[in-house]
């Protein structure tokens, strides 16, 4: 449930707001509804933002046939845009994961 909430709310917030709402939403969600374990909190945040960034990134990558992503990949010395999408997914996942974990733990303390 948390996963779906994060994906939907984070998508809306990032569409209209700054990129760091990708951290804010998992934090709030897991502070509001903590999970059983810390690991699960991290995983929820990680998977939610990773799915979101991967999914939207994949859509933009394929609909533009990699016109931009393949070139940016080369600037970062990566072979293709798809690998850059993997990096994007990982970065998004880590942001979501740590934010979710922090929200979860913060709730447990206070």
């Amino acid at each position: 449930m948390n996963l779906i909430i994060i994906i939907i709310v984070a998508a809306i917030c990032q569409y209209f707001g700054p990129w760091w709402t990708a951290a804010l939403i998992p934090f709030i969600t897991l502070a509001w509804q903590p999970t059983a374990t810390s690991f699960k909190a991290f995983a929820t945040g990680f998977v939610a933002i990773a799915i979101l960034w991967f999914g939207y990134g994949l859509y933009l990558h394929t609909s533009s046939e990699g016109a931009m992503s393949n070139r940016i990949a080369q600037i970062f010395s990566l072979p293709n845009g798809f690998l850059l999408l993997a990096v994007t997914t990982l970065v998004g996942g880590l942001v979501g994961g740590f934010a979710g974990l922090s929200g979860h733990l913060a709730r447990k303390i206070w």
Partner: protein, 819 residues
């Protein structure tokens, strides 16, 4: 334990977000950059034809504006008045080229360091010291005092800003995201900076110091012999030889015979770093252009046909932006320069025009005598006169602003030094870029012009950079005017460093605009220009002592003279002509020297190739590579020993003079290399430079093989404007041509726009540039025209007469609704 984890986890999260929100070295802030919601992912566009018809509200407009796009991405703008027209031109140009406009105006204004840091500080200081801002401000004042230019500038600015205002950070061009900054509002002065930048590119340098050094080292005799005022081997001037100068001449100024000249050579090594602005350099060959028009008698259509290809640096996005501009008083199509309202090269229903650069001497250096080290007074006209100062503040990203007081005399800014005295700048620059004027009006009036008289009237308003304006109309006239505000000078004034104290060395007014060289409907049935000498030596006024080499002009003129029953395709073929006139002139002589010399097997093989060569610089030609490597080496083998020194830079004799000497003066002392004890002769130099040629080619391309093909050796590159983001460059291209070839594609420069217009009741026009309308590397319109350009083909240009005209190539549209 939980507290401990929380205490650890929250700072890690915060640290991660902080680290992703700030740039690291050259890398942008990765969080917003990688996020698909805000980052570069947003800049990838759908790679399919857009058929959208959208409506935008615009509160600044006086009326509705309709825009139709064709399948190459060119906007066709239909407005009811000038303000709305230029508003829309500004809006759409920004939509496709915002970052280019930003970068180019920053470069001109000396404001690159604000976004790029100390790396560009020196470049910015050069622009500031040259007085780009001084010139732009002076021109803006004139432009804003005239109703038509004021409307255009204000409309254009409002349009650019309307586009910028509706952008969210995720919509910014990707270069802003990579560099981590935001677009700033557009101002009318930016247009003036763009015009200044063009003046700088085309008329912003001189060889005054280098040739003054030659004069001081070798004396007047050598100057007269090796640096003549008109080509002695070959020339085919722009205004045909024999044209009569049928006007009331102004008195020609004379040089003060008592003028003092000092004899110390000018060192131009920067001693005090940061003070010197060495703009004494050769314009790279390849910055030039071709244009011509053939008369109705020579064409199969019964009307004139006009062609133009301006040679500039080949960049992505292109220097040019195609557009059609339509109001009840105007219907023009052509290329514009992003940042400047109106069409610069194009055609309308009645006529067509194009431009090439005039190599006029409009950049001179004056030696200033200051009263003392405060530099607040300088000697001129037998009295001390006050200097003025202009403060230039360069803001540098990450550093304190750099301030500088630039001293101005009536000549111009004093920012160069000849290194006499205390190395403080003591040379003033007199430059056409500082001259106030309203060159925009020339283009605006040409856009609307109906006939030859309108063309001539429009040209009179032009200041610079001086251009050869070619013209053809439906009245079956063809014409060419060497046009610009040209200083009235004594013969050779400004060939050498001038005396800033002597009034007779000041520019003595201007050549009257109607007395600028021009030709209308000449007997020979065509007009043409390729940056060569404007006129033969009979023209009464002095324009310059040296122009671009004659080869392109010679080739164009011989082909046009032979042309009959021509159509647009005949002229397109001429634009792509790869014939090497220089090789025809000089190679037989060089090969005859080799004939008499013992050759190694490698030399023999190379010579056999050259023997069989048809003098065509085709992409696959090996002899073209050998010859194109050889001739510059031969020149440097002849001249470097006498005319090259690290300490005292000197100009070398021209290609024309070198050829003359090779063909007619084989025993000149200049062939001897003074750095060896041996006495070299012409054949020695030819042979040793030939061996050096083969060594050079072998070093970079291996043994002689198809790897020596001309396109590989020349290795033409079309780079992104950043010059550093290589993935944004064009892919490798295979093209022939070269410098001095009609198809003037060199490593970095070449035909930045090729246009051919068949005049007639319904003009038919063709054009192409190497790139596309969009500056976004993620757009399908970024490189869509490259392949055709590479192949030498042209697109037929869609010229509409009304907004609701149906045309199979129209795709999408935008309607701007007045609120």
């Amino acid at each position: 334990m939980k507290i401990f984890k929380a205490i650890l986890s929250v700072p890690i999260t915060a640290g991660l977000i902080y680290a992703l929100s700030r740039p690291w070295g050259p890398a942008p802030a990765l969080g917003p950059f990688l996020s698909p919601f805000s980052g570069f992912w947003q800049n990838g566009e759908k790679q399919e034809v857009n058929h959208e018809e959208i409506v935008l509200k615009a509160d600044a407009l006086h009326d509705d504006v309709i825009v139709r796009f064709d399948d190459t991405g060119v906007p066709h703008i239909f407005a009811k008045n000038d303000f709305d027209l230029f508003y829309t031109q500004g809006y759409l140009t920004a939509k496709d080229r915002l970052w280019q406009m930003d970068l180019q105006t920053r470069a001109a204004a000396g404001r690159l360091s604000e976004i790029l840091g100390p790396a560009t500080l020196e470049m910015d200081q050069r622009s500031r010291r040259l007085g780009m801002g001084y010139g732009a401000e002076a021109n803006l004042k004139v432009a804003m005092s005239e109703a038509r230019s004021k409307t255009a500038l204000e409309g254009y600015s409002a349009g650019v800003n309307a586009y910028i205002d509706q952008l969210k950070p995720k919509d910014y061009p990707v270069e802003y995201k990579l560099l981590g900054y935001a677009p700033e509002p557009w101002k009318p002065i930016n247009t003036m900076y763009m015009l200044e930048q063009m003046t700088l590119t085309l008329a912003g340098r001189a060889n005054d110091l280098r040739i003054t050094n030659v004069l001081k080292k070798y004396g007047k005799g050598v100057i007269a012999d090796l640096f003549p005022d008109y080509p002695i081997f070959q020339e085919s001037p722009i205004i045909p030889a024999g044209t009569t100068w049928d006007f009331q001449r102004l008195p020609i100024p004379v040089e003060n015979p008592l003028k003092q000249t000092d004899s110390a050579p000018i060192v131009s090594q920067p001693v005090t770093a940061g003070v010197i602005m060495p703009r004494d350099e050769n314009k790279p060959e390849g910055i030039g252009s071709n244009n011509w028009a053939i008369s109705a008698e020579k064409s199969i259509t019964g009307y004139p046909i006009l062609a133009n290809d301006p040679h500039l640096e080949l960049t992505l996005p292109s220097i040019w932006y195609q557009v059609q501009l339509h109001t009840p008083e105007m219907n023009v199509y052509g290329v514009s320069l992003p940042g400047i309202p109106s069409v610069i090269i194009g055609f309308n229903k009645n006529l067509a025009w194009g431009v090439t650069n005039v190599d006029a001497d409009v950049f001179d250096l004056y030696k200033i005598k200051f009263k003392d080290s405060t530099r607040s007074q300088y000697w001129h006209d037998n009295q001390w006169k006050a200097t003025s100062r202009r403060e230039e503040i360069v803001y540098v990203k990450g550093l304190e602003p750099v301030k500088e007081q630039i001293v101005y005399t009536h000549h111009g800014p004093v920012t160069e030094t000849d290194e006499s005295g205390e190395h403080a700048p003591n040379l003033a620059i007199k430059w056409i870029g500082h001259e106030p004027g309203n060159s925009f009006l020339t283009f605006y009036e040409l856009n609307k012009a109906n006939n030859y008289d309108d063309y001539r009237a429009a040209l009179k308003k032009y200041v610079g950079p001086a251009q050869n304006f070619v013209f053809a109309d439906n009245g079956k006239n063809i014409a060419l005017t060497v046009n610009g505000k040209l200083p009235l000078k004594y013969k050779d004034q400004g060939k050498f460093l001038l005396d800033g104290t002597d009034t007779s060395d000041d520019w003595q007014g201007w050549i009257p605009a109607e007395q600028n060289p021009f030709v209308k409907n000449p007997e020979r049935g065509f007009v043409s220009s390729a940056n060569q000498s404007s006129t033969d030596p009979t023209y009464p006024y002095y324009i310059n002592w040296i122009f671009a080499p004659s080869e392109r002009g010679v080739r164009i003129n011989e082909r046009l003279a032979a042309m009959k029953g021509a159509n647009a395709d005949s002229l397109r073929t001429l634009q792509n002509d790869n014939f090497n006139v220089l090789a025809r002139n000089v190679l037989p002589r060089l090969l005859s020297v080799l004939d008499g010399s013992p050759l190694s097997p490698a030399q023999k093989a190379a010579k056999t190739n050259l023997d069989k060569w048809n003098y065509v610089n085709n992409p696959e030609s090996i002899p073209a590579s050998i010859f194109e490597t050889w001739f510059p080496l031969l020149q440097s083998f002849i001249w470097d020993d006498e005319f090259s020194s690290d300490k005292i830079p000197m100009k070398q004799p021209s290609r024309d003079r070198t050829i003359y000497m090779l063909l007619n003066q084989p025993n000149e002392k200049w062939f001897d290399n003074i750095n060896t004890s041996k006495k070299e002769t012409m054949p020695d130099i030819v042979l040793s430079s030939f061996q050096a040629t083969l060594d050079t080619l072998q070093k970079y391309h291996g043994e002689m093989s198809p790897k020596w093909s001309w396109s590989d050796v020349k290795n033409t590159e079309i780079r992104h404007l950043s010059r550093s983001l290589k993935p944004f460059n064009a892919p490798a291209i295979k093209v022939g041509g070269g410098s001095g070839i009609v198809n003037a594609i060199t490593k970095r420069n070449g035909p930045s726009w090729r246009m051919v217009v068949e005049l007639g009741p319904n003009p038919k026009a063709y054009g192409i540039y190497p790139g596309g309308q969009s500056g976004n590397p993620g757009s399908p319109y970024y490189l869509n025209m490259l392949k055709k350009w590479e192949n030498g083909e042209l697109n037929e240009l869609v010229f509409l007469s009304s907004p609701d005209q149906t045309h199979p190539r129209l795709t999408s549209g935008i309607t701007f609704k007045k609120k």
